[in-house]
C-alpha cells in the first residue's frame, strides 16, 4: 500500500457504501422499533407489548432509541455522500463504526455492573437477572461494525496522525 499515493486517484467506495447501507438500515429500523416500544410503555402502560420485541430483545427505552437512530443516520448520511461521488463520505462509515462500538461497550459495562449486582451481591432487585436480560440491539447490532473495525483496522490504529489513504478492498 502506497501511503503517499496520488491525491486524485479515488479509491473504490463500493464496499464501504454497501456496508453503511446495511448498518444504517438495521440501526434505524431497530431504533424505530425501540422507540415504539418505549413510547407505548409510556403512553399505554406496562402491559403494552410490541410484537417482535421478545425475539429482537428490544427494550422499552426511548432515549436508547435515539442513540440507535443517530448511529443509523450517521451511516446513511455517509451513503448519501458516497453516492454523490464524495470520497470523504467514507468518514461517516468510520465514525459510525466508532459510535456503534462505543455504545456497545457502554452497554456491556452497564450489564457487567448488573451482573455483579445479581451474582456477587445478591441484590434482590436483580433476583431474576440473567445474561440475556440486558441484551439489546445496541449490543448485538455492533457485531457488524466490529467486523468492519477489524477489517479496516489501519484507520483506527491509534499511533498515527499521518495523512493516509487506504486501500479499501
Amino acid at each position: 500500500m502506497d501511503i503517499s499515493g496520488t491525491v486524485d486517484e479515488k479509491p473504490d467506495t463500493r464496499l464501504p457504501m454497501i456496508f453503511s447501507l446495511i448498518c444504517g438500515f438495521l440501526y434505524v429500523i431497530l431504533g424505530l422499533l425501540q422507540m415504539v416500544a418505549g413510547a407505548g410503555r409510556i403512553l399505554i402502560g406496562t402491559d403494552f407489548v410490541m410484537p417482535l420485541s421478545g425475539i429482537l430483545f428490544v427494550p422499552a427505552d426511548v432515549i436508547g432509541s435515539f442513540v440507535l437512530l443517530l448511529i443509523g443516520t450517521v451511516f446513511l448520511y455517509g451513503v448519501m455522500e458516497m453516492r454523490s461521488g464524495t470520497y470523504e463520505g467514507i468518514s461517516y462509515a468510520y465514525v459510525g463504526i466508532l459510535l456503534a462500538l462505543i455504545f456497545a461497550v457502554i452497554y456491556l459495562l452497564v450489564s457487567t455492573g448488573n451482573m455483579l449486582e445479581a451474582y456477587l451481591l445478591g441484590n434482590e432487585e436483580f433476583a431474576d437477572w440473567t445474561l440475556l436480560s440486558d441484551m439489546k440491539p445496541g449490543i448485538y447490532l455492533a457485531i457488524l461494525p466490529l467486523f468492519a473495525y477489524i477489517k479496516w483496522k489501519d484507520f483506527f490504529e491509534p499511533t498515527t496522525e499521518a495523512s493516509f489513504r487506504m486501500d479499501l478492498k
Binding site: 468510520y94 452497564v110 457487567t112 449486582e117 441484590n123 491509534p158
Partner: protein
C-alpha cells in the same frame, strides 16, 4: 548567583506539550490535556542534573506575546521580570510554521532562547522533514528534538541547558521592520533611554516596538516615566493600525523566508482527524452526537458504579452498626456511628462514581473532542451571547467548578470571560453528583442514569439562559469571534487518564476526611443538643435551625431536615448527602441510606427532583465563591453569584415542584 543553579522557563504555543515536557523533566503530575489552554497558571518544579539544580517553570501557552489575554501577560511578565536564565520555546514540530511567530517575538525580549522541537514523532510519521542544523543556523538558537510524551530527548535537553548556561549571551537574530519603522523605533529608544530611573529589565527596542503596535499594557508600564509625554507624542503622530499591520507583516515575511529552508512537508492530504471532524462537527449531526456521548457517559457513571457503591454502602452500614453496639458510652457510639460513619460514609459511597466521572472527563480532554465540542456549540452559543470557547470551562466544570473558572482565563475578551465565570457555577460538578445518585437511584430506579443526565443538561441550560440574561443587562455587548485551533485527535493514554482519575478522586476522599468530617460532627452536635432531647428530633438545635428556614423552602416541597442539609451544603455540596446520612442515620435499622430515605423522609420522586435541581443551582460552594472573587478581582461579582444562584434555584425548584403537583404527581 550560584554556579549550580539554573532557572528555565517553558513557553510556547498552546497544546504543544509544554506541561508534558515539564512533567517529564521534573517528575510532577501537572494537568495535561489535548486542547489549547490547559495550563493557566505558572507552575514550578525542579530537577537535579549533573550537579546543577535546575528550576523549571511551566507557563501558560500563548500564540504571541501581544497581551491579548491574561495568559499572555502572565507569560510575558514572567519572562521579562523574573529573567529566567534560559527561555525554552517548545515548538510543535508537526505545526512548525504556526509556532514561529512566537519565536520572532521571543527573540526581541533579549533572553537566551533554546528551542525544543517537540512532537517529532507525529511530524516524522507524517513524512515531514525538519533540518535541525539549518534551523539552528537560521534562527541562531540551539534546537533540541524531543518526544515529550515518551520522554525522548530529555537528557539532551538538560545537557544543552547546562551548556547554554555557560555561554555568553550572544546576539540572536532580529527582524528588521523597514526604514520607516526602524527610524521610529530608534527615536523612541533614544527618548526612553534618557529616563535614568527606567526599569532596565525591559529591552528598549522591545518596548518601542510594543508601543508602536499599540500595546496598552506596556503603555501603562511606562506611564510613570518622566519621558512618557514625549514618547506618546511620537506614537500619536503615526497611523498606529498601519504600523501594527506592517510589523506583523514583516514578521510573517521573515517566517516565510526561513521556513521553507528548514522544513519540507509531506503532501498536505486529508488527515484522519480531518475525516473524523467532517462527521463530528457536521452541521446536523454534531450536536446530537455530542449529546449522545454525554448521555452514554452519565449512564456509565451511574450504572457501572452501582455494585461498587453498594459494597461500600453495605460495609459502612455494617460498620456503623457494629460501632454503635460496641462503643460505650452511648453518646460516643452515636457520634461515631450516626455522625461520623453515617455522614462521611454517605459521602464515601460515591467514590466509585467520582472515579468514573473523572476517568471519562480525562478521555474527553485527552482525545481532543473537548475542543470540537466548543466548536460545535459556538453557533448556538453566539446567538445566546456567549463565546464558543466558554463551552470548554463549562464542560470542565463537570469535574470541579474551581479549575473550570480558572480555565476561563484563555478567553481573550474580558466581558466574555466575566460571563463565563458567572455561569460556570451552574454547571454540575462532581460534588453534586452524589446528591443525584442518591436521590435518582432511590426514587427513579433504572431511569436514574437518564435523570442524572437531565440534571447536567438542566445545569447547562440554566447557565446558558443566565448568560443571555447577563448579556442583556449587566454585561452588555457582543461576544468576540471564535478562533480556536482544533488539535488532532489522539487516543488518550491509559496512564494519563488513570492518574487524572486517581488525583481527583483522591481529592474527593481527602475532602471527606477533612471538611466534610468537620461538618458532620457539627451537625451531629447540633442534632444531639440541648442535652436530653431525642437525637435529631425537632427539639434539637438542628430542629430549630431547620424550622427557622423551612417556611422559605416549603413551597419547594422540602421539610426541615432537608432544609438543614441544604444550609450545611453551602460549605461543600457533598455535605447535603452527608447530613442526610447523619439525620436519617439514627435508629437500629440496618438498611442502607436509600431505603431509610424512602421509609422515613416522606419524600417522593417529585420532591427529590425539586431537591436535586435546587442543590444543583442554589449557590456556588465556598471554594467557588473564593475563586470567583479572585478571578474577577472583586467581591461584587462573588456576592452577585451567591444571590443570583439562590434566586434561580428557588424559582426552578418552585416550578418543578408546583408544576408537578398541578400535574397530579
Amino acid at each position: 548567583m550560584e554556579a549550580g543553579k539554573i532557572k528555565i522557563a517553558l513557553t510556547g504555543n498552546p497544546n504543544v506539550g509544554k506541561t508534558t515536557l515539564f512533567n517529564a523533566l521534573t517528575g510532577s503530575r501537572q494537568h495535561v490535556g489535548n486542547w489549547p489552554g490547559v495550563t493557566v497558571e505558572k507552575k514550578s518544579g525542579s530537577v537535579s542534573y549533573k550537579e546543577y539544580d535546575i528550576e523549571v517553570i511551566d507557563l501558560p501557552g500563548t500564540y504571541s506575546l501581544t497581551a491579548y489575554s491574561m495568559d499572555e501577560i502572565v507569560a510575558r511578565d514572567f519572562i521579562i521580570e523574573e529573567k529566567p536564565d534560559i527561555v525554552i520555546q517548545v515548538v510543535d514540530a508537526s505545526n512548525l510554521e504556526r509556532n514561529l511567530y512566537l519565536t520572532t517575538q521571543l527573540m526581541e525580549l533579549g533572553s537566551k532562547i533554546l528551542i525544543v522541537l517537540n512532537m517529532c514523532d507525529i511530524a516524522e510519521e507524517r513524512g515531514d522533514r525538519i533540518y535541525i542544523d539549518k534551523m539552528q543556523e537560521l534562527l541562531a538558537t540551539p534546537v533540541i528534538r524531543t518526544v515529550a510524551s515518551q520522554k525522548e530527548g530529555i537528557c539532551d535537553l538538560l545537557d544543552k541547558v547546562i551548556e547554554q548556561k555557560e555561554v555568553q549571551q550572544h546576539h540572536g537574530h532580529e527582524i528588521g521592520y523597514g526604514t520607516e519603522i526602524e527610524d521610529r523605533i530608534l527615536e523612541i529608544e533614544k527618548v526612553l533611554a534618557e529616563d535614568e530611573t527606567r526599569d532596565t529589565r525591559y529591552p528598549l527596542r522591545w518596548i518601542s516596538i510594543r508601543l508602536l503596535e499599540g500595546d496598552s499594557n506596556v503603555r501603562e508600564k511606562i506611564s510613570k516615566s518622566p519621558v512618557y509625554d514625549r514618547v506618546i507624542q511620537i506614537i500619536d503622530s503615526i497611523d498606529q493600525e498601519e504600523y501594527e499591520a506592517e510589523i506583523a507583516d514583516k514578521r510573517y515575511l521573515a517566517i516565510n523566508t526561513v521556513f521553507p529552508q528548514m522544513c519540507t512537508r509531506a503532501n498536505g492530504k486529508l488527515t484522519k482527524s480531518d475525516m473524523i471532524d467532517r462527521v463530528l462537527t457536521n452541521k446536523y449531526l454534531g450536536i446530537p452526537i455530542f449529546l449522545a456521548l454525554m448521555w452514554g457517559a452519565f449512564e456509565l457513571t451511574f450504572a457501572f458504579a452501582t455494585p461498587f457503591m453498594d459494597m461500600i454502602d453495605l460495609s459502612a452500614t455494617w460498620f456503623a452498626e457494629y460501632v454503635s453496639s460496641s462503643l460505650q458510652p452511648a453518646w460516643l457510639a452515636s457520634l461515631v456511628g450516626d455522625g461520623i460513619i453515617g455522614g462521611v460514609g454517605a459521602v464515601l459511597v460515591f467514590v466509585p462514581n467520582i472515579f468514573i466521572l473523572f476517568f471519562l472527563l480525562s478521555l474527553l480532554e485527552g482525545s481532543g473532542y473537548l475542543a470540537r465540542a466548543a466548536f460545535i456549540m459556538d453557533k448556538l452559543m453566539y446567538k445566546i451571547g456567549m463565546h464558543g470557547k466558554s463551552f470548554i470551562p463549562m464542560l470542565m466544570g463537570f469535574g470541579c467548578n474551581v479549575p473550570a473558572i480558572m480555565a476561563a482565563r484563555s478567553i481573550e475578551d474580558e466581558k466574555d470571560r466575566l460571563i463565563t465565570i458567572l455561569v460556570v457555577p451552574f454547571v454540575s460538578c462532581g460534588a453534586r453528583l452524589p446528591i443525584y445518585v442518591l436521590f435518582a437511584g432511590t426514587f427513579f430506579g433504572r431511569q436514574a442514569g437518564t435523570v442524572i443526565f437531565g440534571m447536567y443538561v438542566l445545569g447547562i441550560i440554566i447557565a446558558i439562559i443566565s448568560a443571555k440574561l447577563l448579556r442583556a443587562t449587566v454585561v452588555k455587548g457582543k461576544p468576540a469571534p471564535f478562533i480556536m485551533e482544533l488539535p488532532p485527535y489522539r487516543v488518550p493514554t491509559l496512564k494519563t487518564s488513570l492518574i487524572h482519575m486517581w488525583d481527583n478522586g483522591f481529592m474527593y476522599i481527602k475532602k471527606a476526611g477533612t471538611i466534610i468530617l468537620v461538618g458532620v460532627v457539627v451537625i451531629w452536635v447540633l442534632a444531639s443538643f440541648p442535652w436530653g432531647v431525642q437525637y435529631g428530633s425537632e427539639d434539637s438545635y438542628v430542629g430549630s435551625l431547620g424550622h427557622a428556614v423551612a417556611p422559605l423552602l416549603k413551597p419547594l416541597g422540602f421539610d426541615w431536615k432537608i432544609s438543614v442539609a441544604l444550609i450545611f451544603g453551602l460549605v461543600a455540596k457533598e455535605i447535603v448527602v452527608a447530613s442526610m446520612g447523619v439525620l436519617y442515620g439514627a435508629g437500629e435499622s440496618s438498611d442502607v441510606l436509600s431505603d431509610r430515605l424512602i421509609a422515613d423522609s416522606g419524600m417522593t420522586a417529585l420532591t427529590s427532583l425539586s431537591l436535586m435541581a435546587f442543590s444543583l443551582l442554589y449557590m456556588p460552594c465556598v471554594a467557588t465563591v473564593g475563586v470567583i472573587r479572585k478571578e474577577t478581582g472583586s467581591w461584587k461579582w462573588a456576592v452577585f453569584a451567591i444571590f443570583y444562584g439562590i434566586i434561580v434555584a428557588w424559582i426552578t425548584a418552585f416550578v418543578i415542584y408546583q408544576g408537578g403537583v398541578l400535574l397530579g404527581y
